[in-house]
């Protein structure tokens, strides 16, 4: 298994401007019997939107923990902005922002106090015991971020009285306060309603455009990864596919043609004569595998009741890749 190459690898080797470099990363937990991360390598260029995908237990969160310096790797090297995550952890921490999968707010403080605590820990502003004593730059920045995410007076309520969605927004505001060069988003939109999710992604797009920020996302919402410049799919701690979403989809899932006719038996006979493999799935589904739909349709004389083509989503590609890995 350890010598197995990824099923798909469409990344181009380019050593320049890699803001994240992961080489042969292995992590085995102290009481673990298998490697949670098992020889993972990938690069992310500055300003890219990178998505790390995989089922539960694939090693995504472990990888993110190592990349964000909270967990030591068993072997392999990771550098962020040219700094090693083990030898130069403190410098790495100043460059990255993280929006955690599990809530990491202090429930005893108000939302604003949580954000202020973060801003001081990241050396952005001096300590002040009250919000109104904080520099106006802090108050402006907080207001701007709160407006984007639609948080108003709730910001000044104790976190324990906020809803799950509001807490998530608060964590996002906090994670963006220090303008990180790399922003790690570990399942960031779980618990957000559609409108908040959309405005968050809009804000992240703006952020990338304005500040050349690199985004590293892990998600189960595969539609969120469709916009990624590069995806990396993990399974059982190993990379099973990486490349642009389009390349990953193209390599593994092909367009398909869906046909049906009043005389479905006649249509079946015709497809067999044409040597076109198909499967019966309500209508007849033909994987195009390099053929064009036109090529097939023009050879069919039976009157058709259904004629359409389907492009695969990243989700389908993802499921197929995982299924192939299990075979």
């Amino acid at each position: 298994m350890t010598d197995q190459a990824p099923l798909v690898d469409t990344t181009r080797a380019d050593a320049s401007a890699h803001v994240i470099e992961v080489r042969d990363l292995v992590k085995r937990y102290r009481k673990g019997t298998v490697n949670a991360v098992d020889g993972v390598s990938f690069d992310v260029e500055a300003g890219q939107f990178f998505a790390l995908l995989g089922p539960n237990g694939a090693g995504k969160s472990t990888t993110i923990s190592i990349l964000t310096t909270t967990l030591a790797p068993t072997s392999g090297t990771v550098s962020i902005c040219g700094r090693d995550v083990v030898d130069d952890a403190s410098a790495v921490r100043g460059q990255v922002g993280i929006i955690f999968q599990n809530p990491s707010l202090d429930m005893n403080l108000t939302g604003e106090e949580n954000v202020r605590f973060h801003a001081i820990l990241y050396h952005l502003y001096p300590y002040r015991p009250l919000y109104r004593m904080m520099p106006s730059a802090y108050r402006h920045q907080l207001k701007e971020l709160a407006d984007v995410l639609g948080l108003g007076p709730e910001l000044f309520k104790p976190v324990k009285r906020l809803s799950g969605g509001m807490r998530r927004k608060l964590e996002i505001i906090r994670g963006l306060m220090h303008h990180p060069r790399v922003l790690f988003l570990d399942e960031p939109t779980s618990g957000l309603d559609t409108a908040s999710r959309r405005s968050l992604w809009q804000y992240i797009r703006d952020l990338r455009r304005r500040h050349d920020i690199t985004i590293c996302l892990t998600t189960h919402q595969l539609n969120e990864a469709e916009e990624a410049d590069q995806v990396c799919i993990l399974d059982h701690g190993r990379v099973v596919a990486k490349g642009t979403p389009r390349d990953v989809k193209a390599q593994l899932v092909h367009e398909r043609l869906i046909l049906d006719a009043v005389d479905r038996d006649g249509l079946r006979r015709r497809l067999r004569e044409l040597n076109v493999p198909f499967r019966d799935d309500g209508a007849l589904v033909i994987e195009l595998n390099g053929r064009t739909a036109h090529e097939i349709v023009r050879s069919i004389e039976e009157p058709l009741t259904v004629l359409r083509t389907e492009s695969p989503s990243l989700e389908e590609a993802y499921l197929r890749i995982l299924a192939a890995g299990d075979e």
Binding site: T70, S90, D106, L121
Partner: protein, 259 residues
């Protein structure tokens, strides 16, 4: 400078949590009332005259030292609670050094412990424990040292726990024996050799004895109450503090990343 701000922010967070917890605030008032007035008072009435001890002053100094030491030590375990609430993630991915996190935490919990003993000192004055302004002024550095000792001890203990439930068990196991070995309520001038050996390795002994050394200074029962000179106690506490801090911090930092 920015590390200093971070340390203050970490410490201020603990103080804020204490001030917002009505249960802990009430306990800070009720506890000394029960311990000094009820326990110290009944000991004084029943044993004070025959032994020639001021038991109210004796229990006050015992509980003062114990509270400063134990409250800070237990406060350090909130780093364990933070880890369980995933708040530690926020602390540990920030560019603040691990040493600043530990120091900020000790500073915060020490401040909380000092706030907790203020009602105790007030009770002592009301109950006519002979406390002069000079005594109170001298108690300030003693309190700071006691809290820092507790913080270092708590940090060391933290590394032996796997979760906050384990922390409660360890605390019962570690602190309860020290109440008796350190002479919290009853004098320990005479102990069998094996208990004397255990007493000598109890950090709480030196904290309480140092507190008594200050409060009983100049009183006729000084030699019967105080076990060692304040200089000896300060020297032992400083040495223990350094050893516990170095080992505790190293273990803590290693454990946080090397799971």
């Amino acid at each position: 400078m920015s590390e200093t701000n971070a340390i203050i922010a970490i410490a201020a967070r603990d103080m804020l949590k204490f001030l917002r917890d009505p249960g802990r605030l009430v306990a800070a008032v009720v506890f000394p009332f029960v311990m000094i007035f009820l326990l110290g008072g009944t000991l004084q009435l029943n044993l004070g005259r025959s032994t020639g001890f001021n038991f109210i002053a004796f229990t006050f100094t015992g509980f003062l030292g114990m509270t400063l030491f134990q409250s800070t030590a237990q406060g350090l375990t909130s780093l364990m609670d933070d880890r369980q609430n995933d708040f530690a993630q926020e602390l540990f991915v920030s560019p603040v050094s691990r040493y600043s996190i530990v120091f900020g935490k000790i500073l915060g919990e020490a401040s909380v412990a000092i706030m907790q003993v203020l009602p105790m000192i007030l009770f002592a004055v009301i109950l006519r424990v002979p406390l002069t302004p000079a005594h109170i002024a001298l108690l300030v550095p003693v309190a700071i040292l006691s809290c820092f000792m507790g913080g270092a001890f708590g940090l060391l203990l933290l590394n032996t726990m796997s979760d906050s439930r384990a922390s409660n068990q360890i605390f019962n196991f570690v602190f309860l024996p020290q109440y008796f070995l350190a002479g919290l309520i009853s004098p320990i001038n005479i102990l069998p050799w094996y208990l004397e050996a255990l007493s000598l390795i109890s950090p709480m002994r030196y904290v309480i004895d140092l507190t008594r050394g200050v409060v009983f200074n100049g009183s006729p029962e000084y030699s019967r109450v105080v076990l060692a000179s304040p200089t000896t106690n300060v020297a032992v506490l400083a040495l223990m503090f350094m050893v516990f801090m170095v080992i505790g911090t190293a273990l803590f930092v290693r454990r946080e990343t090397n799971r």
